[in-house]
């Protein structure tokens, strides 16, 4: 998917810097800020809403809000363009 409008909400206060979200992201949406020892959600427009960053966060710091309507099905009929 490209041109998606998913959102990722991050609660920095509770983050313990385990890096699991960073490792889990398979499409390079998440980078790591070594100074702050926290994730940076740098390329959210490339998120594939796999939810792994949220699922693996032990402190529940991450919430992925998918915008399914922004994912194009690319079919020729108007309702699925």
């Amino acid at each position: 998917m490209i041109d998606t409008k998913h959102q990722i909400i991050f609660n920095a206060e509770d983050c313990v810097g385990c890096k699991l979200c960073y490792k889990a992201c398979f499409v390079d949406v998440i980078r790591w800020d070594e100074e702050k020892n926290q994730p940076v959600f740098k390329y959210v427009e490339d998120c594939e809403h796999c939810f792994w960053c949220e699922a693996l966060c032990k402190k529940k710091c991450i919430k992925v809000i998918p915008d399914f309507a922004s994912e194009k099905l690319l079919q020729t009929f108007d309702r699925y363009l």
Binding site: I2, D28, H49, A55, F68, L73, L74, F77, R79, Y80
Partner: protein, 555 residues
Amino acid sequence: MDMYGHENLRADILIIGGGVAGLTAAISLKEINPELDVLIVEKQTAGYSGKACRGGGVLQYFDFDKITPEQFVEYHVHNIGCHLGDQELLLKYVSMNNHMLDKLVEWGAKLPKRADGSYAVIPTGPMTGIIGVDLDITIRLRRTAEKMGVRFLDKVTVSDLLTAGDKIAGATGYSILDGTFYTFNAKSVILATGSQNYRIGPMWGSGRGDGIAAAYRAGAEMRNPEFGNFAQLVRVRSHREVVYGENYMYNQLDEHITKNFRSGPEPDISSTAIAEWFMQMSMARGPIILKPENHGGSLESMWDRPFGSPFWKLNEEWADKVDEDWEVCPMFIGEQSPVKVDHSMQTTIPGLYAIGDASYCGSAAPGAVPAPPGRNRGSGILNAVFAGIVCAQSAAENANNNSLPPIDKTQVEDCMTRAYAPLLRESGCDAKDVIRYIQKAVGPMERSVYMSDHRIVTALRYVEKAKELAGSMKASDFHDLLACHEANAMVLSAEMQFRAAAMRTESRGWFLREDYPEMDNKNWLKWIIVKKEGDTMKFSTEAVPYDKWPIKPNV
């Protein structure tokens, strides 16, 4: 040109890609010879990348007390592969099924078992069953590989392969974090980079064909590129797959349209289901809805897979929020996997191997069907494990028998120049501008799945447009540079897919053409082969050697 730093790394064996195929190969190599220096380079994080850890978590199972491997091969040749498959290789895959499951357990994967200790198998037909596997399979395999001394390099993407004469010599790539350029020198190189999915299906986001493109550019032959058109029915709001949903398709006249393309049970989604959807929509009888007789309950109730559970739960919860009904539409998945390999998974470049979804169709084992799941649920992970185990023997021998090949500095310079070009361009288009055109070519079902000559020509026009733009892509950072590099791979994959599809003037297995609806055994018991010659994409055919296999086609 060394503006971002340059590292030279050596290894006996370089594995590109840290998903289940690459990890299996690494562990198998260490089992053969613990002294081998094995390096896995992965553009994201090995163990968390690839598809095995974010899919359905199932493994294909054969109960050899009930069927023989030969019986399954016969069934597959008639019903799925349609005489285009290599029966010997498929037989080897099926015969190794129980061994592979035991190996996965030995390497740390969690497979749910019943109280009596047997695997919790769910039958999927008279010939096959599936077993769950928890989604930490690749993380566990990575840990096992690390304990055995396998080295890992994450966040480095391989952009090209290096050759010395006609043999492999290594690869080049760059860090997606800081742009450091890497030159890898290795005796054997194993491509475990997945298939081409063109960035359409969300869960297939990692398959972007960069390994396929690197192999093509290095001169490796491709086989069966036209079988890169897998599609699945999804619910139209959440885009969640509805596995086996094709059995319950209804149009707005309340007709059970499954009966138009299916007279009895079939193993999985077929391209005929996609064609039926398209025809019904074209006749204004859509939208198409499913009326599942039985939702079947969750596999969670049958299998204990605690690691994957929160992942599936989040997906399900969000889908439940948006899915108002059972309206479905096909979604293009792709799964092009054309790197041609022999029975040891060696490509046509000596010392270069391709495994897993990079070479599923290129191996010819499956015949006329796209890469896993390819109408064979649970075969994706096991095909990767099979290819990983099989290639290790030959890759280890090759490494033992050869010294490190020389690296050609001019080749490295050329690779570096090509890799960084979009960064150095002052202006140009975005990688996504190119990808949009490719998606217009492959996305619509009537262009890529239910094809005709006219519609393939239309698709190729979009591919040409993408190709024109690709030469002027501009990257703003290394993340963007990777997108450019992947966009180039998509252009290459789409071109070989559609040009091969135009050649195959018949319908066979998953490959379906409206203008050539019949299987043509007289002219098309052939594989389409693609190879780079100079700047030309050269196509040829190779006769399927069915004479040497037990199950013969009617010619």
